[in-house]
Symmetry: C2
């Protein structure tokens, strides 16, 4: 099974990397861009267990390691292969 | 309009960050994890133009700045708000 995890900074948290990208995009002539937020995308390959167990495991991985839940939100989807 | 961009390392490109995450997940007891790939997730807010024009613009942004197309692949979706 594959898990696709999206980790984003919470609203209101300062994102200097996003601001740098925004500035460069404008500099390159993309004037229509109004905001940029940069997050992480993580793909996991997992074996074995049921979809429900996988969801529980992935949530636990996000809470314990993958996301800093003070400043980041996460969402994920499980894809059966 | 909002663009959601997913940037991943191409297959075969070494991913030390993913390997570090994999090692830590196993250390935490998540034995079922077999592989981890870490990429980027970028959200853009764009104003104005049509969905088709936005797609063209976002593709251009990925090629010129957001992705290193030598080692990274990108995909994106445009969401009308």
């Amino acid at each position: 099974m594959k898990a696709k995890i999206y980790i984003t900074l919470k609203n209101g948290v300062h994102d200097p990397q996003g601001e740098a990208v925004l500035g460069t995009l404008k500099h390159l002539g993309f004037e229509g861009v109004q905001g940029v937020r940069v997050g992480k995308y993580i793909e996991l390959n997992l074996n074995g267990v049921s979809k429900e167990q996988t969801q529980t495991q992935v949530r636990s991985m996000c809470e314990k390691l993958l996301a800093n839940t003070v400043i980041e939100s996460y969402s994920f989807e499980i894809v059966e292969q």
